[in-house]
Symmetry: C2
């Protein structure tokens, strides 16, 4: 009998808490959908600031923008963490042509890959196509490639339902194509853009060189131009490519992570870090990547503040700088965390998969941490979220694993279908973000932070 | 021991079937994503045909388009069902102005509601605003409304997570606003468009008159113009509205449902009906509403045919005519079903909620039928579908309930967040449909039809 009564009391208590949590979450959604600031904030970040690669004036203005927004929303603390960031510029010359045997020129849409060297004037060479990076790697000699321009025409796998898996499978083409092509004696490398649709937008993105291999210029063609080049090559005639790019590296620049906090009332030194990255590539407006993650995070804390929520633990939003070409922001933040020995870091969350309709959250953590995540699903059923599973956290929060033993990293998971229409492309602009989808993401993240704060 | 062995064998058999089904579904998705025709078919329906309200030349060309497509894809039978449809035309004159006290005119974006009478020349009247239809209904006398133009500025409820619920709550404003306003002596009614975003696109849609109440003209303002008019009225000055529309009804026209079949090998007289509606409103291109449902259905059967699938039961795709302003296609198809006493109708499925990323299926049926639907969920987990629940079927298949006892009606459920950005508006064009999202819908529907055919 004693046991039964205890169970009953516990049952009521649990129910009470659960209803209170559900009501809180409903209010979070109402605030986001009826009085949300995220869409206007994203417009401002995209239009008043624009594309913001590290080292650019826009990146520095984005820091001021972020700091000002956090102050405007009356977060308890707002401060900057100074960091050193890579500084690469696209320059003013960037053009490419397919040149047929008869001299006919066809201008293409291309973008230098981020970090590429320039061509030092006009570069021309015969094109040799590989359908995949694997095919290039299987080449036994450099007889057919020496002095040529290698063209890797590997498409993303459209049959993957989660487009991030398709991206993961194709990423080495962009990341390692220049190294692999240079090793085969090529004088430049062209890749098919890592984008799913057939369209005219080239997609840039990070790439690597290694000291032991000569650097060669690297650029991405739009998927339509990649198809066109491939068709011309399939006819068997010699096809040349003409390329000029004056992109180059500059010395590292000073920049900042922008940090804001609501101080925890019970455990001010217990920290829940969350955020996105403030930098973007230098094309488009960085709307989905990662303007969305920035305003998701900003709005989540604004909503909690607006609702007069006093967190138990300190909720710390970080606008990370330099995710795209160095992750210096993420690495530097981890250093700061390591230095602050009085702080206890209990969780981190990142939004860097676009501003689309929310599907759930993933957890890079132990089985127990994943089970904790799964236990939250029922709060979100009414909001159409159903992905609560083991998975990736985020690039910016990744380095925290090295400095905080056992910290669970959570990733916000929106619908992935349209992300690689826009990723790193001129089309990643404010107009391609939907207001409701963005707001629902803010509400999901604010609700999730609330639950982390209450239940961790 | 006997029991154990039997269970074991049954276990293996079940597993075998399940793996076969899963492999089939994977192939369906591969075909849709790598060799799909749906996006090009939708482009053709939107651009080669265009908006296609019943009675228009475009609606008749859409019939020919649908018949030709079904023949091109080699369905076993392709035929037309002749029906009579309403014929309303917007006419050439359609314009409205807010007129301030000082005579200043502000042109607005508006659309006559479908079925509205015209204004018979220029109509001018003082505007009186109601914030909701309920507020208008609560009016005790017609003292303030007699001879006025009533403006019902009721927004859709943005806090509803499922936007169809918000639409349902607001639908009477459009459907019944003219009747209710006329009963209060108004000479015309203006409504705020049933659309969620604040933008310049007015949304048309069906409305009712009743014989006992004088007909008055009815039009929808864009949400931005509704806000503007409301702000001007809130200043307290008299505001007039000037309106001219020459829309009107014509005698019924002849049109057709377009029907195609793959004949069932085991039970040719067992019929699974599925489809969408071929007609659209006369603005935009009817891309999401319901071009998407048309190509979803067409492509689903094409995929099954392409995969050499021989159905057990007859799979019958129907392109219904006149869903938007009469549902004569749906009613007439039910009549045909009733007449064909040799046929046994075992299920029906409709896609009429847009071409967005699939979320699942709903079932208008018994608890047992809903449980059957729920049992299918595990086949779709890998494809990110999770809604398998009791719910609505569709307008076109709805009349089947009256003629087939106990038939389960299924509705395809895509993500709802963006639907009411475009619904019945000039912005419902091909460019606002995403290729992958559309293709994933086709694959989900083809897979679902396969499972219905195998398991019902």
């Amino acid at each position: 009998m004693r046991l039964l009564i205890t169970t009953y009391i516990l049952g009521i208590t649990f129910l009470g808490f659960s209803q209170q949590d559900s009501a809180f979450i409903r209010n979070v959604y109402n605030e986001a959908l009826s009085h949300g600031k995220s869409y206007e904030d994203l417009r401002s970040l995209c239009k008043d600031i624009g594309a913001r690669i590290t080292g650019s004036a826009e990146a520095e203005m984005a820091v001021k923008w972020g700091e000002q927004k956090m102050k405007e929303y009356n977060f308890d603390k707002v401060y900057l963490q100074e960091i050193q960031v890579p500084h690469w510029e696209r320059g003013t010359k960037e053009a490419g042509w397919i040149k047929l045997k008869n001299g006919e020129l066809n201008k293409v849409s291309l973008l230098a890959l981020g970090g590429s060297i320039g061509t030092n004037g006009i570069l021309e060479g015969e094109v040799i196509e590989f359908s995949t990076l694997e095919q290039l790697r299987n080449l036994k000699s450099n007889k057919t490639t020496q002095g040529k321009i290698i063209f890797i025409n590997q498409p993303m796998d459209e049959q993957q339902i989660n487009t991030f898996k398709a991206y993961g499978g194709c990423w080495p083409v962009r990341g390692l194509g220049a190294i692999e092509s240079s090793q085969l004696g090529a004088k430049a490398v062209l890749i098919r853009s890592l984008g799913l649709p057939l369209d005219e937008h080239p997609h840039t993105g990070g790439m690597y060189y290694v000291d032991s291999v000569e650097k060669i210029p690297a650029a991405a063609l739009s998927t339509l131009d990649a198809e066109k080049l491939s068709v011309l090559l399939s006819k068997g005639d010699k096809v040349n490519f003409v390329l000029e790019m004056d992109c180059r590296d500059y010395p590292d620049a000073t920049s900042y992570n922008v940090i804001g906090e609501l101080t925890g009332a019970e455990n001010p030194n217990n920290i829940i870090t969350f955020g996105g990255h403030l930098d973007s590539w230098d094309t488009g407006e960085g709307a989905h990547d990662d303007g969305a993650g920035i305003v998701h995070s900003l709005e989540a804390l604004r909503i909690l503040k607006e609702m007069d929520y006093t967190p138990k633990n300190t909720l710390r939003v970080v606008f990370f700088m330099n995710e795209e070409n160095g992750n210096r922001g993420g690495e530097s933040y981890a250093t700061l965390v390591k230095e602050r020995t009085h702080e206890k870091h209990i969780a981190a969350l990142e939004s860097d998969r676009g501003g689309f309709a929310p599907r759930g959250f993933s957890c890079d953590g132990t089985d127990e941490q994943v089970a904790f995540l799964e236990s939250m699903e029922h709060y979100f059923t009414a909001y159409d979220l159903h992905v609560f599973e083991k998975g990736y956290g985020g690039v910016d929060i990744g380095p925290l694993k090295k400095v905080v033993d056992g910290i669970p990293l959570f990733g916000f998971v929106p619908d992935s279908q349209r992300y690689f229409d826009f990723h790193h492309a001129p089309s990643d602009v404010f107009e391609n973000v939907n207001k409701r989808e963005l707001e629902l993401g803010c509400a999901a993240i604010a609700s999730f932070l609330y639950l982390l704060d209450q239940k961790l």
